[in-house]
Subunit: 389 residues, 2 copies
């Protein structure tokens, strides 16, 4: 296990602009696929200071296209960290008070081992030679990072969407290591509709001849068009119909009349094309396949003999489950089913359904009702944990 290092931008998959911990042959990771991953590495960011009692750590789990740069400028895009509305000095998750850890997930492309990482056996990028990764695999790797940081119990684990799946997996598999859990805009499994949309996106990537069976990095090309289409499809599911209507409606883009062509006449077209084009600059296409697959495979009830509440049996973790009324990627019913299971398991749980028209992405946005719910839950849990201001 080597020391943490910081590297400048470029080959983020191998040399991330963040600390990284390398686990060698003495610390293999057994994957759900039935094979071992070794060596592997986890890139992560931390903010704030671990207190003497090592009791103030907050683990932030990112979503499909997120990364470890939760509260600092992104080294690829230069944009603010993806959750700076919530996390930072004096923010709701106050880095003057908490020690915030955000690891890049296994299978991603920002420094934790993923398909764009160099396979030590070949000296080339893994591509599809990396075994399929699951959410429990991601969480097992994160637990090794938390061990490495010398933390027995996390004060809080928080995240939305795929991040929320990781939160739930943490609370299920490492219940004693999670004092409080804040899963948002998530579910305990991917629905058939979610699998369908992600499958369409994967087919778009794999249909791009520049994908080259997953070996595009060897060839110095990238399946940009296919990945852009996949992003466009997914992005529609992240917004509600009413948000799209409010933001764009049928407004035209920089023109007063229809052009009678296949140009982006409508603002919504222009917006989506932009989303697709900027995404391919910062994300690896194979990582998109792996992380979407991990979401498809996630099914906590199936992992517990078909009884969801068994996933949380005997849990002492305090839960706050957050959903958004207009989220149709992870509808509020999914959260309600989770809350029923948590209640059945005897866990301590509060449920906050936030009224918003912003859709799935609401968990990333400036949403006052969300902030006040998170603040209330975190402050109350901190008091219970003896973390006084």
């Amino acid at each position: 296990m080597s020391a943490a290092r910081v590297k400048p931008r470029n080959d983020q998959a191998n040399e991330p602009s963040s600390p990284v911990v390398r686990f060698g042959a003495d610390k293999p990771l057994l994957l759900d696929a039935g094979v071992t991953l070794s060596p592997f590495q986890v890139a992560y960011q931390t903010y704030g200071e671990l207190n003497a009692a090592r009791s103030n750590a907050v683990l932030v789990c990112h979503a499909l296209t997120g990364d470890q740069h939760v509260a600092n400028a992104n080294p690829v895009t230069g944009k603010p960290g993806w959750w700076e509305v919530l996390i930072g000095p004096g923010k709701i998750i106050d880095t003057d008070r908490f020690f915030v850890i955000c690891p890049n997930v296994l299978g991603s492309c920002m420094g934790t081992t993923g398909p764009a990482s160099t396979n030590p056996a070949t000296g080339k990028a893994y591509g599809l030679d990396l075994p399929v990764i699951t959410v429990p695999d991601m969480v097992r790797a994160q637990a090794m990072l938390v061990d490495h940081l010398g933390i027995d119990q996390l004060f809080c684990v928080i995240g939305g969407s795929l991040g929320g799946m990781q939160v739930l997996e943490w609370a299920s598999s490492y219940s004693e290591r999670v004092f409080a859990a804040l899963p948002m805009a998530t579910g305990t499994r991917h629905s058939a509709q979610n699998i369908a949309f992600y499958e369409a996106g994967r087919q778009a990537v794999m249909a791009d001849p520049d994908w080259r069976g997953g070996r595009y990095l060897d060839a110095g090309v990238r399946p940009e068009k296919g990945l852009a289409v996949a992003r466009m499809i997914a992005h529609i599911t992240y917004l509600s119909e009413s948000a799209l209507h409010r933001k764009f409606g049928r407004n035209l883009q920089d023109r007063s009349k229809l052009t009678f062509s296949f140009d982006a006449d409508f603002q919504v077209e222009s917006y989506l094309r932009h989303q697709g084009m900027t995404f391919v600059d910062r994300f690896d296409a194979n990582s998109y396949l792996y992380l979407s697959r991990a979401m498809d495979y996630f099914d906590m009830a199936a992992d517990h003999g078909g009884v969801l509440s068994d996933a949380f049996k005997g849990s002492k973790t305090r839960f706050c489950v957050v959903s958004f009324t207009s989220d149709w990627h992870f509808p509020t019913e999914e959260s309600r089913a989770l809350v029923h299971a948590l209640n059945a398991s005897g866990a301590s749980v509060s449920f906050v359904e936030i009224e918003t028209d912003k859709g799935h992405d609401a968990f990333l946005l400036d949403e006052p009702e969300l902030f006040s719910a998170v603040r209330g839950f975190v402050d109350s849990a901190a008091r219970a944990r003896g973390l006084h201001r």
Copy 2:
């Protein structure tokens, strides 16, 4: 204008397996794009006999991927006509009683002029040299077919989705020629979300290198992968989340365990791939671009100074508007807004909202409540028209 002819399968775009009427230089079609299309042709099917009073004609308008083969075996796929559940001898729209006409729409690929048709100016397929087509253009061409058949007033115009848009356009632009109108699962405009999904599909087609800027037919190739992805995206929007859950859930396809790969592990993936693959055998990629664009452009209120009810001012047509509770492609609210506008214009309208979990495609399926609504409306309108059994 030449006589109707029937041709066997193969080049359906130029030599359809159905009657076709050719409009020569004396009958140009002025398009909304501001240019004239001439010559052009309309392929169509008819069933039953026109009565002596020429008062029993029912015009069926097909949806994006439909065709004129509404009640006979499809010449390409060999499958039954796409609306045989509703139309045929002794059926609800009884071809022993009504003279049913179904034209292939302008811009499609089954014999009516579209991008796969030969451009007489070049001897090659139009490709993107065909002007962009609108729903009013489609209806204007259909009106010329109806003239050709010697029919002043249609007893009924019926269709769902893009077909429903045509029904509404008929009732607006040719009110006196439409005794009764039955628009289903449709709206008076495409929503931002619909534009977004179709734009993602168009980008998938255009990202396929075999699309070749629209000139793939000259090169003897087809953008099959891109078109398959477009079909997969659209197909998800045609089904409800609950229908997907009921039909597929998270069931695995021909296997008892996850394979930890990117194969189609889940039934829903296998189903979607099949939908994509079979679609490309029967449909032209450029037609997909044109017809989806026509739907995006459709906006009846915008065409009438922003006042939707003005589209139907003074209409004597009887309307029956049909929507489906689980249709999220054309939500029932769209139909309700249409009904409000029809009421405001003083039109005669009934509204049937059908409770079903089958989603948008319900209008094509065996839906008893739909059948009884159509039967009731058609029988009552027939009596009012003096069409006794």
